[in-house]
């Protein structure tokens, strides 16, 4: 049984999408802009209404309360948002991911508005991982990062998937990155999903 199973999902801008992710698997998603990648991520995180079936570990989405669903199916949008002025106010006690991403404990005292875009991006990922999600939906998580930070993020996500038997759908336009991290990729064109042929 797949960890995350999507069948016949449809929503405005998305038609009849089916795919599944196995435990520990990372799948890349690509597609031209406007093809519906973000819409798909939003629909999977249940931020927008959609029809069809989405199951996590065999349980249908409707059976899981929304807050619990979004903790387990964690969506990292391309642009992170912050509601308090200190970084630490966005975290509970989990610090593991913070250290792994190269942040010290004092990062909690940092002002959000003084973060660089790369720091924001990595902290947003750490904030998401603190929930211990089973499925990660990452929308271009390394778009603002230099090569070294990109490598750190890739390694962190791969380690996380292996340790927690979690799965990940990773949006990227970078074919080199795709080859580095994923064995399988999907392509979205005009709201329809295709299995991409390995290059």
């Amino acid at each position: 049984m797949a960890l995350f199973e999507v069948s016949r999902l449809s929503a405005p801008g998305l038609s009849d999408i089916s795919f599944s992710l196995a435990a520990g698997e990372l799948v890349c998603l690509s597609g031209p802009s406007g093809s519906g990648k973000t819409l798909l991520m939003r629909a999977l995180a249940d931020l927008d209404a959609s029809s069809g079936q989405v199951c996590l570990s065999g349980t249908e989405r409707q059976q899981i309360v929304p807050t619990q669903w979004r903790r387990q199916v964690g969506f990292l949008p391309a642009e992170s948002r912050w509601w308090a002025s200190l970084v630490g106010d966005h975290f509970t006690d989990q610090q593991v991911a913070l250290e792994r991403l190269g942040f010290e404990e004092e990062v909690r005292e940092w002002q959000v508005e003084r973060l660089s875009s790369g720091e924001r991006q990595r902290l947003a990922l750490a904030r998401l991982l603190a929930n211990q999600p089973l499925v990660l939906l990452l929308d271009e998580p390394t778009a603002n990062l230099d090569p070294l930070s990109t490598q750190k993020v890739e390694q962190l996500v791969l380690d996380y998937l292996a340790e927690n038997q979690a799965a990940c759908l990773w949006v990227t336009h970078d074919s080199a990155q795709r080859e580095r991290i994923a064995a399988r990729s999907l392509q979205l064109v005009d709201g329809r999903l295709h299995e991409a042929v390995p290059a």
């Binding site: 931020l47 929304p66 807050t67 979004r70």
Partner: protein
């Protein structure tokens, strides 16, 4: 009490007219609005004066209730008209009317039956002005709060959804906005209480004193009214914010900005 003639009133009207004329150049459009608003005041107040006169002569519960409902209906329309982004369908009207009904009518009944204790309790000399003051202030509070709420939800959509994505409940995701919104609804009445007597003499008390009432008695009435207004406006705003927040999300706790539309 010194009787006012129509000539006295037209002297005061000259003041408004003078303002409209001098504002005409610098603030075109505003002068017209000023004149229209002044005319509305004259017509509406004259009409309500006649209605009250007839009502006082014939103090049936049915008539009092009918006038109250008309006032409520108009206040509901006013709340709706003041929203920059309002709920689609009957909701924008319904939320305002239900919240005002629950708070203003309950507080008015409480005041009439328990505090004032007239016989009969619905005597229009007391019931209508009391309800009018309650409704007016509650309407302001609710209109301010709802406008702020829908505007904030629209502008801070990214933050609200970021919190939902992290598994926060709608209550958690809205907590900061809710606080600001409730505050903005209550600020006018808090300010009015804080400044009462020191900076300004409240309108009702001023009216009673001008009409020859004993100042200490007028003060008592004013305090009563201010507390009632605070309760009515506060609970009304609370109810309206509660209903509106619920309407902003669906059963899967998704933010539903499609339930709002921009008014011109």
């Amino acid at each position: 009490m010194i009787q006012l003639s129509n000539f006295d009133l037209s002297l005061a009207a000259l003041l408004v007219l003078a303002l409209a004329l001098s504002a005409r150049r610098m603030y075109p459009g505003l002068a017209g609005q000023l004149v229209v608003a002044a005319l509305r005041t004259v017509i509406q107040l004259t009409l309500i004066g006649l209605v009250l006169k007839a009502l006082f002569a014939n103090a049936g519960l049915l008539w009092v209730a009918l006038l109250s409902l008309v006032m409520l209906g108009i206040a509901g329309r006013e709340v709706m008209a003041r929203q920059h982004r309002r709920f689609v369908g009957a909701w924008s009207y319904g939320i305002g009317v239900v919240s005002m009904f629950v708070s203003s009518f309950t507080v008015a009944l409480f005041a009439l039956i328990v505090v004032v204790g007239n016989e009969p309790w619905y005597q229009p000399q007391y019931a209508i002005p009391l309800l009018g003051m309650l409704l007016g202030n509650t309407m302001n509070g609710i209109a301010l709060a709802l406008d702020r709420l829908t505007q904030s939800a629209w502008e801070q959509r990214g933050v609200i959804e970021a919190r939902l994505m992290l598994g926060h409940s709608t209550q958690q995701a809205m907590s900061d906005i809710r606080q600001q919104v409730f505050r903005s609804g209550l600020i006018p009445i808090i300010n009015a209480m804080a400044a009462a007597g020191v900076v300004s003499l409240p309108g009702m008390m001023t009216g009673q004193i001008l009409a020859g009432a004993e100042p200490v008695e007028a003060v008592k009435y004013q305090i009563l009214i201010m507390f009632l207004i605070t309760g009515g406006a506060g609970f009304g705003t609370m109810a309206a914010v509660h209903l509106a927040v619920r309407r902003l999300f669906d059963e899967r706790q998704r933010l539903r900005l499609d339930r709002l539309k921009r008014s011109n």
